[in-house]
Symmetry: C2
Subunit: 223 residues, 2 copies
DNA sequence: TTTCGTTCGTTGGAAATCCAACCGATAAGA
DNA sequence: TCTTATCGGTTGGATTTCCAACGAACGAAA
């Protein structure tokens, strides 16, 4: 267990918790490590869960099966990411996806109740954990809202501009770098890469934006 | 203040709090009521905020101005809904939208720190409030994830089927009712109403689904 | 019953997107 | 250097979506 402490201390859930507190804390939380060989299913879609999972080793896939058998990968989870926190904290209980180990993996499970129930020994880190959890959920909310705002735009052009303006706003400047290449940006905005490239070229030709690789500039607003 | 207690007791933030506790609680939280005449701006986009707002009377609009002056309504907030909780709890501080009173409105403001900092008098409701807040954020997460899953589908047909399958899953049956009319469903999936109607007709003709008004049946899976 | 408003399906032409393919530029490796 | 792989822009035709408009069905109000 101890060998994972350095990793765990970088997890958003445990930020602000001193390394010296991990022993007490994990014991108080009743956290348990479980190993899954490559290919094994951690959760089946629809399973009832009460624990938050934190991958400490390996790699997981969250997958969704549509009713006629096609499975699509929703996300990949790598150390030290969490999964299941929204379902568990929301009290929904039933996971909407299946979780599969794509490599031999080790997962730290923590019972949600043990986090939010301040224990009799009044461990100091409960408050910290709770604030961390709230922050994690809230930030995820903001990320999703932002993305939603972009992809609900009608056209590829509007999606792109919505995204670029947001980036400019965050950078506080008309020039900025974006963290995606074209394909990744297309995926994020859920548009075609070629259509995206075409729109970008058009906007550049119209003098609305300029760019080179991942560096962008917003030159003029308007149609 | 007291006249709002019945309303507040139906707010997700205060579920499980006894009516008798409101006096103590609101005082302990340092909650304050502020009134805004119709048309007045509550927050300007980019303002730094540390309080969660809870509308107890009136109606607010969250609006976003794109850089060339067009403003679009992101959401309407009506009693007893909250706003700003994701930003405040996420520690981002700067609101990404402007908040405007569309009618004479009264808002209850609560400092986030006072919620998560258990007070010296150890008020029993802090723990409850925190759990409520976590649940609210987590459920919003799930709602958004679900919607995102539908909207990121490529075509109108796939968006529709993704939504309908989700509804069937939730209902635990191949037949179910949906809470939207056609226009609302189109807005939710961010597609055209007419294109949606057309796809629905086609799917019905192909024997994939059947429907009448808001009542649907999934008959056959596959292309 | 008549009238009016709303909802929903349909349609046709314009516009946008998808898809596969190709090419040039650049970087990495042999 | 030559080869290979990746990335990004472009292109053209098939497909889908958009948009405005219309009409049928239904329910509420007069």
């Amino acid at each position: 267990m101890k060998k994972y402490y350095p990793l765990l201390s970088h997890s958003p859930l445990f930020t602000g918790i001193g390394p010296g507190d991990f022993d007490t804390m994990l014991h108080c939380l009743g956290a348990s490590l479980r190993s899954y060989p490559k290919g094994q299913t951690v959760y089946f879609e629809g399973d009832t869960v009460t624990e938050i999972g934190l991958v400490v080793s390996g790699r997981l896939h969250l997958v969704k099966d549509d009713v006629w058998g096609n499975t699509s990968i929703v996300t990949e989870i790598a150390p030290p990411e969490m999964f299941g926190e929204a379902v568990v904290c929301g009290g929904t209980s039933r996971v909407p996806v299946s979780v599969i180990a794509k490599e031999d993996s080790v997962i730290l499970f923590i019972d949600y109740k043990r986090i939010v129930t301040t224990c009799s020994s009044a461990c100091a880190f409960h408050a910290k954990l709770i604030r961390n959890m709230i922050r994690i959920l809230a930030q995820k909310n903001i990320l999703m809202s932002t993305k939603m705002e972009h992809i609900t735009q009608r056209s590829t052009k509007e999606k792109l501009l919505s995204y670029l303006m947001e980036q400019a706003r965050q950078a506080g400047s008309r020039t900025f770098d974006i963290p995606y290449n074209r394909q990744e940006l297309a995926d994020y905005l859920s548009v075609e890469r070629s259509a995206l490239s075409a729109e970008m070229s058009k906007l550049k030709a119209d003098g609305v934006i300029d760019y080179k690789k991942n560096h962008f500039e917003i030159r003029r607003e308007g149609a």
